[in-house]
């Protein structure tokens, strides 16, 4: 086996394949870099900024930096984790992330990140926006209160399902998820429960109806082990997984 090139992640060598990002190489090596908008089956988005690391001294999103460009990457530092905690707090403040009543609790990446980073406080004044839910679809419930604008459903619907069911509208603090129908309701689109877009939400916006609490609270994915111990579950799934 020929030696693969490597970079240093927090002082430990991480091997990579040509074309891999710092994030992909790290996850493939079982090393977790906190992230929200990254998904192993989609092109990097670079928008949540949670995976920001110091790559040879410069702050860069590890999901978008080619591993070839990196020599020394710092990720698990107090400075960066402090910034990550702030990002998580800002997301919690911006929406209505009321975990006690959320079906996704225990499977939610935002919540898991909060646990893993030790976010104990609100940090910011919560905005309590008024965002009605959309229950118009017979099989899917949309709860916009929990959207973190990762665009995974938008990307999945466009790139995999070929349906363009979702989009982001508005700018800045007004930015929000919309449904591509004249009525704005999911029931008036050709969305189907089997669509890729319906299974990629990292939080609790897109929920299948009649499946609630199938797995009890306390026995769910991130109840069992912290997200930082699940790096390999986010590793590139197949070579062509880096779509496009």
């Amino acid at each position: 086996m020929s030696a693969r090139p490597t970079f240093l992640l927090d002082g430990v060598e991480v091997p990579f394949d040509p074309g891999q990002s710092v994030m992909q190489a790290a996850l493939a090596a079982g090393r977790h870099i906190p992230h929200l908008c990254y998904h192993p089956e989609f092109k990097p988005h670079g928008s949540c900024k949670v995976c920001t690391a110091r790559v040879d001294g410069r702050m860069m999103t590890s999901c978008t930096v080619p591993a070839e460009m990196a020599t020394e990457v710092e990720s698990d530092t107090e400075e960066l984790n402090d910034l990550r905690r702030t990002l998580v707090q800002m997301l919690f403040a911006e929406g209505n992330h009321f975990c006690p009543s959320c079906e996704q609790s225990g499977n939610c990446l935002l919540q898991a990140l909060g646990y893993d980073l030790g976010v104990m406080t609100a940090g910011f004044r919560h905005l309590f926006p008024d965002r009605p839910v959309d229950a118009s679809h017979p099989e899917i419930l949309l709860d916009f209160n929990r959207c973190i604008l990762c665009e995974l459903c938008v990307r999945a619907s466009r790139e995999v399902d070929g349906k363009d069911v979702f989009a982001l509208a508005g700018r800045g603090i007004e930015k929000h998820l919309v449904v591509n129908a004249e009525s704005g309701r999911l029931g008036d689109t050709n969305a189907a429960a089997a669509d890729k877009a319906m299974s990629v939400c990292p939080v609790g916006v897109i929920l299948r109806k009649r499946e609630g609490f199938h797995v009890p609270i306390g026995e769910r994915r991130f109840d069992r082990s912290p997200v930082s111990d699940q790096a390999s579950d986010f590793a590139p799934r197949k070579p062509e997984a880096t779509r496009g």
Binding site: C99, G114, Y115, T121, H126
Partner: protein, 183 residues
Amino acid sequence: MAELARPKLKVATASLAGCFGCHMSFLDIDERLFPLLERVEFDRSPLTDIKHCGPCDIGIIEGGVCNAENVHVLREFRANCKILVAIGACAVTGGLPAQRNHLDLGLCLQEVYLTEPSLGRGLIPNDPELPLPLDKVHPLHEVVKVDYFIPGCPPSGDAIWKFLTDLIEGRTPKLGHGLIAYD
């Protein structure tokens, strides 16, 4: 013997706009209450029924701030407690009661007491004994300085035990995986 001679820490607890679930969860430390009681004694608390908080080492408050009385109790705790702890989702973020924050308070009262048939007395309660509700529900730290936060709805007995033992032993309280929870 030096261990026994240590003065007990004074602890006060209260529930503001909460459901007493965090207090119930505190009781879930079960028989660990006995070793705890060797180190602390309770001042104002639902456990003692003392009505006002005297000088204390640790104040633990569950529930957010939803009415004028909550503000008074919270300020009394802050004035008397060296360390103030917000326990549970409501105290930390506003929690369930704060789910009314995107609504107009007047319309809420109207809906409950006038529109809704079940309570149909045609009157919004206005007895002077009743504390006036605040326009919005606030987490504790928006009203007074809070020293520590324990999230969870409620935090588990184990989380509360870990927090209290850390604090009493002079360590920085730290909840790890399985103890830190938002649900």
